[in-house]
């Protein structure tokens, strides 16, 4: 790593963030700003899933459970107790973390398809509870009247909410980046490629998987909390399978197990169907075709494929050393990968 080029990368990144933060609210109309804010929240959600799905490589299809917990935490706190916005969002994250810490150690005793089924079942269970605990959650009628919130004594306008979402998205990316570069991220990536080998060199894979689930729980809760304030009304559908699967599609589409992949993927998954509305009834078929093409042609996701394309071009002058691009294009859908080894997982 040359420090100068690293410094330049951070500078370019900061410039880009500043351009988005100050530029977009001026360029975009209210409707577009709304959609982009929603896309940022979905990106936080995708990043929250990325810890288990992307790094640990376990097919978590129930992230909506933590999203919903965050949404109801924010909703109930601000409607019933009038808690300020900042406290409400932080509580949503903390409740996501607490619920992940309670359920993670249980669901992660399982792996692969079994883990997948239990995560789905848990989210569905939470939806039933929210539906039937009418006195507490409002049941199927939902919980209306969640305020947009205010920060530093000033009410948040659409632009303020956009900035808050952007800031929290950057926080989620920073946490992903820092963990990826640490021994924690290496333990995750190791167990994704071969849990057996990871255990043999001393990785407590169960503990590290639970850590990934808990960190993801915090950001899942934050995404839920933001959604509650942004849409002003929530109902048990926040636990719906579509919420989980949307995060999965975004993460896998952009490139799971990377910092940028889930962000790019979630933005596409939110923005494309929205702007394909122009194509009226062809909207969903076009979107579906796009997904299939990306998954077939770029099984590792958009971001890693594009990055490697540039790396290979830069490498062309150098000696013929294989880059990551020439490694076998393993599919990143984790259920399909490396689950054949005999001794693994919890007993």
């Amino acid at each position: 790593m040359k420090p100068r080029s690293a410094k330049r990368q951070w500078f370019v990144l900061a410039l880009g963030v500043a351009a988005v933060a100050f530029g977009l609210p001026r360029v975009l109309g209210p409707y577009d700003l709304h959609i982009v804010t929603l896309a940022f929240i979905n990106a936080i959600m995708a990043l929250s899933l990325n810890f288990t799905l992307g790094y640990v490589g376990q097919p978590n299809f129930g992230q909506a459970m933590l999203f919903g917990v965050g949404a109801y935490t924010s909703g109930l706190l601000s409607v019933r107790l009038g808690v300020p916005f900042a406290v409400s969002i932080l509580s949503a994250g903390m409740m996501g973390l607490v619920f992940a810490a309670v359920f993670g150690p249980i669901v992660l005793r399982l792996r692969d398809a079994y883990f997948c089924m239990v995560t789905i079942a848990l989210a569905q269970t939470f939806m039933l509870v929210a539906n039937n605990l009418i006195s507490f959650t409002g049941g199927p009628m939902g919980l209306p009247g969640i305020p947009f919130g205010s920060l530093f004594g000033r009410p948040l306008g659409p632009e303020g909410f956009f900035l808050v979402s952007l800031a929290l998205l950057l926080l989620a990316m920073l946490v992903t980046y820092r963990l990826e570069k640490s021994v924690v991220g290496r333990a995750w990536i190791g167990m994704r490629d071969s849990e057996t080998l990871a255990r043999s060199v001393g990785v407590n894979t169960y503990l590290y998987a639970v850590i990934a689930y808990i960190v993801g729980g915090f950001f899942g809760g934050v995404a839920g909390g933001l959604t509650a304030h942004f849409t002003s009304v929530i109902d048990p559908k926040v636990f719906m399978f579509e919420i989980s699967s949307m995060a999965v599609v975004g993460t896998v589409l952009g490139g799971s197990g990377t910092v940028w992949g889930p962000v790019v993927g979630a933005l596409l998954v939110t923005l494309l169907p929205e702007y394909l509305r122009l194509a009226a009834m062809w909207r969903l078929p076009i979107f579906g075709l796009f997904l299939v093409i990306v998954v077939v042609l770029m099984p590792r996701g958009l971001v890693p494929t594009v990055v490697d394309l540039f790396a290979r071009r830069a490498d062309r002058t150098g000696p013929g050393r294989p880059t990551a691009a020439r490694a076998p294009a393993d599919t990143v859908v984790p259920a399909a990968a490396d689950s054949a080894s005999g001794v693994k997982g919890g007993r």
Binding site: V183, G190, T196, V201, G202
Partner: protein
């Protein structure tokens, strides 16, 4: 007490899968600094024995002692923490990572990975990176097996022989006191096997004790201090290479009786 004096010692170790006793009543000892080979016909229980020693399988009978401590029934990662690291017959690698990343993941325990929660908080709230010792141990492991020049190659794109070597490097990076190798030269050419022979001596010179399972008799006879022969899960002979070669029971197990 000789039991405590031994580096690794098993007492009547056995495991039963339904009606099959894959390993039974195994009493095996390893002295610090030696190279011990475990040989035997296919299905004799050699890999099963390694699985029992490293916690990948739980024994149904008997005990395992490492440096006097009872480690029976410990999980693989707990066994690794105590200094026993193994390699795999079907070469396990972090296939999508580069050779360099492989050994760095292997250096998990030298990066303080025992304390997952502490490392998570450290990564989030401090600027402390990977300990220099871990990075150097990883680098050195790669160089020891001769893969230094291929550090940037994705593991999956390395030739077979190099993949086997990388498997050993990952185990070395973990900083073992006892290295258990499951068929280290399996599928290698004679020239490659010769390199691994030299590697065994190099590893031993660092004070690492080696236990290995191997079918290549040339290799076994030239590197081993001692040999244990398994047949149908039972230890049928132990001794120096020359003694084993002359042992009628061993010849019978391999060639049959006439």
């Amino acid at each position: 007490m000789t039991a405590e004096a031994a580096f690794l010692k098993t007492e009547k170790l056995g495991v039963r899968f339904g009606g099959l006793e894959a390993v039974k009543n195994a009493d095996i000892g390893l002295a610090r600094g030696e190279i011990l080979s475990i040989i035997g016909p296919n299905g004799a229980g050699k890999t099963t024995l390694i699985n029992l020693l490293t916690g990948f399988l739980r024994p149904t009978t008997g005990r395992v002692f490492f440096r006097g401590e009872d480690i029976t029934g410990k999980e693989p990662h707990q066994v690794a923490r105590r200094g026993i690291v193994r390699s795999f017959q079907k070469n396990e690698l972090f296939r999508r990572c580069t050779a360099e990343q492989n050994v760095l993941i292997g250096a998990h325990l030298r990066s303080g990975g025992q304390h997952g929660a502490a490392r998570t908080l450290e990564a989030l709230f401090t600027s402390r990176g990977t300990p220099r010792a871990a990075v150097e141990a990883a680098r050195e492991a790669l160089e020891t097996v001769g893969l230094g020049p291929r550090a940037g190659w994705p593991a999956a794109s390395l030739p077979h022989g190099d993949q086997r070597l990388l498997g050993i490097a990952v185990a070395l990076a973990a900083g073992p006191e006892l290295l258990l190798l499951d068929e280290p030269v399996g599928g290698m050419t004679a020239a490659e096997a010769e390199r691994v022979m030299a590697l065994m001596t190099k590893i031993r010179e660092r004070g690492i004790t080696i236990g290995l399972v191997e079918h290549n008799m040339n290799f076994v006879m030239s590197v081993s201090d001692r040999i244990v022969v398994l047949d149908h899960g039972e230890v049928i002979a132990q001794g120096k290479p020359a003694e084993i070669q002359a042992n009628p029971r061993v010849i019978e197990a391999y060639l049959g009786k006439w």
